[in-house]
Amino acid sequence: MLGPIIETFIGGLLTGILYSLVALGFVLIFKASGVFNFAQGAMVLFAALSLARLSEVMPLYIALPLTIAIMVALAYAIEFLVLRPLINQEGIILFMATLGVANFLDGFGQTVWGSDIYKIDLGMPKNPIFIFESVFPGGLLIDPSELIAAVICAVLVVVLAIFFQVTRVGRALRAVADDHQAAQSVGIPLNQIWLMVWAVAGIVALVAGMMWGAKLGVQFSLALVALKALPVLILGGFTSIPGAIIGGLIIGAGEKLAEVILGPVLIRAFDLAGGGIENWFAYVLALMFLLVRPQGLFGEKIIERV
């Protein structure tokens, strides 16, 4: 019995990393501009679609920079056309605007690139590998493509961390995140910083889209993985990059374990028509955390004054 549990745990962790990647995009934007960017899922889809269709007509090493350029252009368009006119509006209005952007991108992506299933071929191995076959009957199954995704994700996080800690732009960005007005008053150009953040979020979306796309094929449904990232966000906190990573791992492992272990128990106990509890388990798990720590696992403590 231990074998399957460990296996599920590992599988969950690896899936969780992919959740973290999507959540990371949310966090970057929320941290810097206070926008709850619901278009992140649409951006993942759009980036993956662009890459998939471009790589059909050109080699990957040209398609990839081109896609990055597209994502930067997209960030610029969003900053210029949507965010700038809506400056100083309430959070919920900005949230709504990103929902509009998400709608637009869904339609635009399908118009330009089509709505079939497309392939991104990163040459990742597809067949599973088995380890510890002597310890557990049947061994422990590991999906190598997810392992590679995990490594790439880890690299990405390190790069981002360095970018934010060491570079000038990174420091400016943290200043903006702390206090818009103060940052502006010391001469940090807010618009440029936002553009920067959206571009970085676009690139993170591209990486997430590549990983998911290589695994599942690039199709409209990819936009819906954004919903999977939301419990990660509340668990990890909207403003914490390590929170997004750790939150993703906890959610990924938690929901898979719940589905595999708790699911059959619930089905038997309540005579349910099938399991599928992972759909809400992540949210309930996150909710439990929230009740203890309302600002999320790594969120900043909110101090309120009247």
Binding site: Q89, I92, I93, M96, G100, F104, Y283, L291
Partner: protein, 354 residues
């Protein structure tokens, strides 16, 4: 010139407290309601009833419900679809298991059911707020959707998990034709809107608004957040539950949990934001906008005689819809209701500039 309150004096406190203090407003609203009851049934065709008017009215009830919670009490919720599902399935089970119940009682009890569930899922709001709460309400959305798909009793052990309602009667009158359904829904909408309007003007409404504007300050001046927030959740869920029951019974006729999925939640949220947060009128305008725009965009090319493929039409619909949302937010972030108010201000002077 035509829209002037000059000469209208308020001589009593009651007059000062009227819903529509200006007589032009009063006449206008009365005329609209009368037209909706008497004129529309004569003019509208079946498509207009089933695909435009009924959905708009039912979703307007849901939007009012969500507006109470989000617009008036400031608690962002993405669980609307789930609460609508509670209403729909509660009504289905009540109608199925207690067939002697009057349909209006069924709908109200369905609302009460949704209210109880809403109270339960409103509890976290005492601890968390803002977008954290929004995502937390998603827990209710996904859990409820799942529960109605899995627990067989809710669907009367239907093998496919899809439920269908039988014929509906209201005190012996059948509610079958689109026009009958429309009139039934319209009556409910008028009553519900009136109740909501009065609620938000009353003590409880001011409690909600104080909590929305600054919950700590509200607490300090003696408003209990528990009562304020939970009452908002309860009443909001009641409205949404009734809307869900109506949606299932009068709009769909047969449905599965997918009819109340997360997209429904977003749809209703769109409505109140586009329509105007904290405005009953805005709920109607928003519902009309969100229901009509996609239908309109979808059919526009064929009216204009532009030959476009089906796929292109759908994609353009998506794009234009998204762009329109952003556009409306930019020109007026406070929604269509605010545009309406600005228009009225203009009308006071028009056509003379001073």
């Amino acid at each position: 010139m035509f829209y002037r309150e000059a000469g209208q004096f308020k001589t009593t406190y009651n007059a000062d407290q009227a819903i529509f203090p200006i007589s032009q407003d009063r006449w206008f609203v009365t005329a609209v309601v009368l037209f909706a009851f008497l004129g529309v049934p004569l003019l509208a065709g079946q498509y207009l009833f089933t695909e435009v008017l009924i959905p708009v009215l039912i979703l307007a009830i849901a939007a009012i419900g969500l507006n109470i919670l989000t617009g008036y009490c400031g608690q962002l919720s993405l669980g609307t679809g789930g609460f609508m599902a509670v209403g729909a399935y509660a009504a289905y089970n009540l109608a199925l298991r207690l067939p002697e119940l009057n349909i209006i009682v069924v709908f109200l009890l369905a609302g009460v059911m949704a209210m109880l569930v809403g109270l339960l899922f409103g509890l976290p709001s005492l601890r968390i707020k803002g977008f954290y709460l929004a995502v937390a309400t998603l827990a209710s959305q996904f859990f409820l959707e799942w529960a109605f798909a899995r627990v067989k009793w809710f669907t009367n052990y239907a093998p496919s998990g899809s439920v269908a309602v039988g014929k509906i009667e209201f005190f012996g009158f059948p509610i079958e034709t689109p026009m009958q359904k429309y009139l039934f829904v319209l009556t409910l909408v008028v009553v519900f809107a009136l109740v909501a309007k009065n609620l938000v003007r009353s003590r409880i409404g001011r409690m909600w608004m104080a909590t929305r504007d600054m919950d700590i300050a509200a607490e300090i001046i003696g408003i209990r957040p528990l009562t304020a927030k939970l009452s908002a959740f309860a009443i909001s869920s009641f409205y949404i539950g009734v809307a869900g029951a109506l949606w299932g019974f009068l709009r769909l006729g047969a449905w599965e949990p997918l009819a109340f999925d997360i997209n429904r939640s977003f749809q209703v949220l769109f409505m109140i934001i586009i329509g105007g947060l904290g405005s009953i009128l805005g709920s109607f305008l928003g519902a009309a906008f969100i229901v009509l725009t996609p239908i309109f965009l979808n059919q526009l090319p064929s009216w204009l005689g532009i030959p476009l493929s089906t796929a292109a039409i759908s994609h353009i619909e998506f794009m234009v819809f998204g762009a329109l949302i952003v556009f409306f937010l930019i020109i007026e972030p406070h929604g269509l209701a605010r545009l309406w108010a600005i228009g009225k201000e203009k009308l006071r002077l028009w056509p003379f500039p001073y």
